[in-house]
């Protein structure tokens, strides 16, 4: 362990292993007494080489691997990928499949936001809210399981459609579950906006102004809580969002309370969209034929994950494997805001500010090779990357 400096200010390491973090990440917080004077983040503890791995697998296998980038928003990754590949191949997906994709995406948003609510309450030491919101989250997990057979990685998507249909019985189950959750969500909204003790931990904490949110490039609910009009579902509707439009949820305050309010209000919007989809589910096929080789070209696919904009760049060279897939997850866009906002707050607020962006660390780890002007172009093979990763983590462990 490093020695503590003799001056009043010293550094508190939050992570890579720390009870506040559910995944490995390293925040080095310099505090003067209890006040944070500097915050540094070090990413890269859970790099898995997913992008590289996709280059040696075919288009179909990649759905499986990309769905596992995130354990919470798994469906949206597969959706972004499938939408991109279908665009490249010029395939028209049946409307029923698009609607079911959006249905599952909104159910996933509900499960993600309820999960976040619990985690955030736990960071504030409000374990009762944590337990209650996770209990209610089981409702949506059960619904997802009865739809797809899985609680986490639903594998609903296919290239060219979806695997699972929604029949009347299942629709009734979903209606019932949504009705129950809507009541509970109203209760949680009341709690986070009126519980005086909880408000002491959220109101006016980690305030990000609109211009800050713009400059820091934040996305998703974090940006919307600072009144930034940024929601891919609204700005560039994909899938069935054109037929089932979403209303954007904004808040002007930009503090932690606003982030709670925005996420909880988005739940109501999700409930509404799910009901609308179930009411007007288009009839027709679930999937269409996809070519095994995708014609040469490149495309960009943007979707709104529960945490914000998810960006896929897909390049095909005309074979059955992609030339390059680049993923940008929302957490990496929001991460800088944490480091910026933490300064000046108390140490006790740091976990709350970290969790306020709803971070998903293993999604955001990237590896970059910096070439200091030597002009060498170096291609990494999957095997080389794997060996490098093993060496890297062995070095870290020492």
């Amino acid at each position: 362990m490093e020695k503590v400096q003799t001056s009043r200010s010293f550094t508190v390491p939050i992570g890579p292993q720390h009870p506040a973090l559910k995944e490995p990440e390293h925040f080095l917080i310099t505090v003067d007494g209890e006040i944070v004077t500097k915050a540094v983040v070090r990413l890269g503890y859970a790099h898995r080489g997913v992008e590289k791995a996709t280059e040696s697998r075919n288009w179909v296998q990649n759905i499986y691997i990309l769905e596992r980038i995130c354990g919470i928003c798994s469906h949206i990754h597969a959706t972004a990928y499938c939408l991109g590949v279908e665009k490249l191949a010029g395939v028209e997906v049946p409307p029923r499949a698009q609607a079911i994709r959006v249905l599952v995406a909104e159910m996933e948003r509900i499960h993600s936001h309820l999960l976040w609510l619990g985690v955030a309450a736990h960071e504030a030491g409000f374990d009762t809210l944590f337990m209650y919101s996770w209990r209610d989250r089981e409702t949506i997990m059960d619904l997802l399981e009865s739809l797809s057979g899985n609680r986490v990685n639903y594998s609903v998507n296919l290239l060219g459609g979806v695997k699972f249909d929604v029949d009347d019985e299942l629709a009734r189950l979903i209606y019932d579950g949504i009705d129950f959750l809507e009541k509970r969500t109203q209760h949680y909204l009341d709690v986070v906006t009126s519980d005086a003790m909880f408000l002491q931990r959220t109101r006016g904490i980690g305030t990000m102004t609109r211009s800050q949110a713009d400059v820091l490039g934040t996305v998703g609910p974090t940006a919307r809580a600072s009144n930034v009009y940024r929601d891919i579902r609204v700005e560039a509707p994909y899938g069935a969002y054109g037929d089932f439009p979403v209303k954007i949820v904004l808040d002007e305050r930009g503090d932690l309370e606003a982030r709670f309010v925005v996420r909880i209000k988005e739940l109501f919007e999700s409930y509404r969209v799910i009901r609308e989809i179930l009411d007007n589910l288009p009839a027709g096929e679930l999937s269409t034929r996809m070519p095994r080789r995708i014609q040469e070209g490149e495309t960009v696919s943007r979707v709104e994950a529960p945490r914000g904009e998810l960006f896929y760049f897909i390049k095909s060279n005309g074979t059955d494997t992609p030339e390059r897939i680049k993923v940008r997850t929302p957490t990496i866009c929001n991460m800088m805001s944490v480091v910026k906002l933490a300064v000046g707050h108390q140490l006790a607020d740091v976990p709350m500010i970290v969790v306020g962006i709803d971070p998903c660390f293993s999604c955001n780890d990237r590896m970059t090779v910096v070439d200091r002007g030597q002009g060498q172009r170096q291609g990494w093979t999957w095997e080389a990357l794997r060996r490098y990763g093993i060496r890297h983590y062995q070095r870290l462990a020492r």
């Binding site: 362990m1 503590v4 508190v12 506040a20 960071e123 504030a124 030491g125 374990d127 009762t128 909880f198």
Partner: protein, 313 residues
């Protein structure tokens, strides 16, 4: 003659080691810890531990290796938990426990007891600042900060009944309150005393000194094995003694063993309810709570008592 002395000695030893002090107190502490954990779990929609879980935890911890970190004073590191437990057990001698009269009693033992109970926080603070671990250091600072903020209101809240009884001897106060529910005449003092006990034990929402999501386990981060077990035991002892004192002073006495358990457990229910209801306060907020509201409430209580005393005479 000699046999009488030996008999007396044996009886006192048994009183200190087994009943009502010593072992019995420790086991009661574990029982109350279980009630606390089980109830909190039920309130939070969880199942909660089985009845022997706190005991199993202690046995497991005692069986584990105790890691003494580098660059700490090993004697302090090992000694502090023992001092904390000893403080709690010594305080038990002056407290009317389980319906029995305290085994020792002298004028002014209330103050001694309160200070012995504070040894726990003090030892926690010292244990935290003894290590180089930054979580421990922050935790120790917060523990001591909290000690300085809750201690004065807590003391004043316990002195209210002493003032009413006209004595600083726990036994005499307990006899005085046997027929009177001071909760009715000193509600503010009762409130401050209960919350003061929560502050002393670092229970939520006053658990900033051991806020898991910020500083891991606060002052106890480096403790494992025996030291941690003893600290936990002394928290149990402090909990039960604090409950006893408040029940004896404010809830109409504890001379009947059945009433003792009934009243202390009822008090525990209130504390668990408060634990479940609130989000954690930051350390500056809890200090503010104590000095801005806690102390003020007790002082209002005292003012009321003086005025009432003036009116009556």
């Amino acid at each position: 003659m000699a046999s009488d002395i030996i008999k007396d000695l044996l009886v006192s030893l048994a009183a200190i080691l087994f009943f009502p002090g010593g072992l019995f107190l420790l086991l009661c502490g574990l029982l109350y810890e279980w009630i606390d954990r089980k109830l909190l779990a039920q309130l939070q929609n969880r199942i909660g531990p089985r009845w022997f879980q706190p005991l199993a935890d202690v046995i497991k911890l005692l069986a584990k290796e105790e890691v003494v970190p580098e660059e700490v004073d090993a004697r302090l590191f090992i000694g502090l938990p023992i001092v904390a437990l000893a403080g709690g057990l010594t305080a038990a001698l002056y407290v009317p426990f389980a319906g029995l009269a305290p085994s020792h009693s002298f004028n002014g033992d209330l103050i001694v007891t309160i200070y012995l109970l504070s040894l726990l926080s003090l030892c926690l603070g010292l244990a935290g600042s003894n290590t180089l671990d930054r979580f421990s250091l922050v935790g120790a600072t917060r523990t001591l900060t909290q000690l300085f903020s809750y201690e004065a209101p807590f003391l004043l809240a316990l002195l209210g009944p002493a003032f009413a009884a006209g004595s600083w001897q726990i036994q005499e106060i307990a006899t005085y309150t046997e027929t009177r529910w001071l909760l009715l005449s000193q509600p503010l003092g009762f409130l401050v005393a209960v919350i003061g006990l929560m502050g002393k034990l670092e229970l939520p929402p006053l658990d900033a000194p051991e806020a898991e999501t910020e500083i891991v386990a606060g002052a106890l981060t480096e403790y494992s094995g025996r030291g941690l077990a003893i600290f936990r035991l002394s928290k149990g002892v402090t909990l039960i003694l604090g409950l006893t004192l408040i029940a004896a002073f404010y809830l109409g006495g504890v001379s009947n063993p059945a009433f003792f358990f009934l009243k202390t457990i009822a008090l525990l229910l209130i504390i668990v309810g408060l634990k479940a209801l609130f989000a954690r306060l930051r350390i500056d907020q809890s200090v503010g709570l104590w000095w801005r509201y806690g102390t003020l409430l007790v002082l209002i209580q005292w003012l009321g008592m003086f005025l009432w005393g003036g009116v009556m005479t």
